[in-house]
Symmetry: C2
Subunit: 163 residues, 2 copies
DNA sequence: CCTAGAATGTTATACCGTACCGAATATGCC
DNA sequence: GGCATATTCGGTACGGTATAACATTCTAGG
C-alpha cells in the first residue's frame, strides 16, 4: 500500500455507470466551490457537465456546439472563460497533446497530474503519483531547476483496446 | 555514474558559444541524414539552422518570418513540412506547452525526452533520463497501459533566472 | 435602492496547422 | 543521355484554437 492512492481514475471498465460519476463530479464541484466561496454559475456548471458527460477529452469548439443546443448565441470566449475557471480550480485538466479537456477525478485536493491517453479510443486514466512527482523534482533539482508545474502525458494503448 | 548520460543539454551557461553549437548541430544532422539515406535539403537545413540560431523554443510563424528573409514566397505548409521532417528524424522537439520547436541535442540516438522550460527566460534543458522513463512505464503497466510515447515538460525557473 | 466588482455577451481578429493541387526536382532504370 | 517515378516544394484556401477589447448584465454587500 505504498502508493495506493496514486491512481485517481482508472480506465472506465465495461459496466461503468456514466450517469453516476457525472452526478458525483457535479456534486463535488458544487461542494468545493461553496467551500472556497466561488460561484459555480449555471454556465460553468453546464460546461463541466458537458465535459463529464463525454467522459473522454472533449475539444473547446465541440463544447461550444453542445452549449449552443442549450443556450443561444454562445461565442468562443464564453466557453474559454468557463474552461479557465474550471482549470484554475482544478476541476478539469487540459490534455495538451490533444488540445482538449477532461474532468478531474480528485479536485478536492491539489495533486500532481499524470495522464494516460489511449490512442485508439481516447480514454484517459489519471494518476496523482507522488513518486513520479518526487523523481522529476529531484532530477530537475540536480540542474538547479525549480519546478512550478508539470505536463506529463503518456500516449499508448489502454487495457480494453489491447483486448 | 548510474545516470550520467541523462542530461543531454543543460541550461546554456553565461559564456556559452552559440555559433559553435549551431555548427555542431548542423554537422551532426548532415551526417545523420547521410547515414540514414535521407535528404537534408536546403530548406530543411535552413529551418534547422534558424531553430538552432534561436537556442530557445521558436514558433512556426516566427520561423516563417525569418525564412522569408532568405527565400521568397514562403507559406505555412513549407515550414510545417520541414518541421515534420525534422521531428520525424528526432532532430528537433516540439514544446507542447508553448506550441514551439527546439533543437534536439542528441539526435543520433532515439531516447526518451524530458524538457525543463524556464518560465522567465524560456531557456530549455533536455533530459533523456532512463530512470524517469522506466518509472513511468512501470506505473502505466500497473494499469495495463502500454506506453508508446510520452510528453514530459516541467515548467519552472532555471538556475540563471534564480540568480 | 445603489454601487462596485464579477460574470457574461458580442464582435473582431490573431495564431496554429492542414488539405489539396500543381510545378519543380531528384532518383533509378534502360 | 533519356525517360518514368517518387519526393520535395510552391501556393491557395481554409479549418481549428484562442484571445483582445468593449458592452452589458448580474450579484453581493452597504
Amino acid at each position: 500500500m505504498a502508493d495506493d492512492s496514486a491512481v485517481v481514475a482508472d480506465f472506465p471498465a465495461a459496466g461503468h455507470d456514466h450517469a453516476r460519476c457525472l452526478a458525483g463530479a457535479l456534486a463535488t464541484a458544487e461542494a468545493l466551490c461553496r467551500h472556497r466561496g466561488l460561484r459555480l454559475t449555471e454556465l460553468r456548471r453546464q460546461v463541466l457537465e458537458l465535459i463529464w458527460a463525454e467522459h473522454r477529452p472533449i475539444k473547446a469548439y465541440e463544447l461550444l456546439e453542445r452549449l449552443r443546443e442549450r443556450r443561444s448565441g454562445v461565442a468562443p470566449p464564453t466557453v474559454y472563460r468557463a474552461l479557465d475557471f474550471l482549470l484554475q480550480e482544478g476541476l478539469i485538466h487540459r490534455v495538451e497533446s490533444m488540445s482538449a479537456y477532461i474532468g478531474c477525478s480528485a479536485p478536492e485536493r491539489r495533486h500532481p497530474v499524470q495522464l494516460l491517453v489511449c490512442r485508439r479510443c481516447a480514454a484517459v486514466a489519471e494518476l496523482a503519483d507522488g513518486e513520479i512527482e518526487a523523481l522529476l523534482r529531484r532530477k530537475a533539482q540536480g540542474l538547479g531547476f525549480e519546478v512550478d508545474s508539470a505536463t506529463i502525458e503518456l500516449e499508448g494503448v489502454c487495457p480494453q483496446c489491447r483486448g
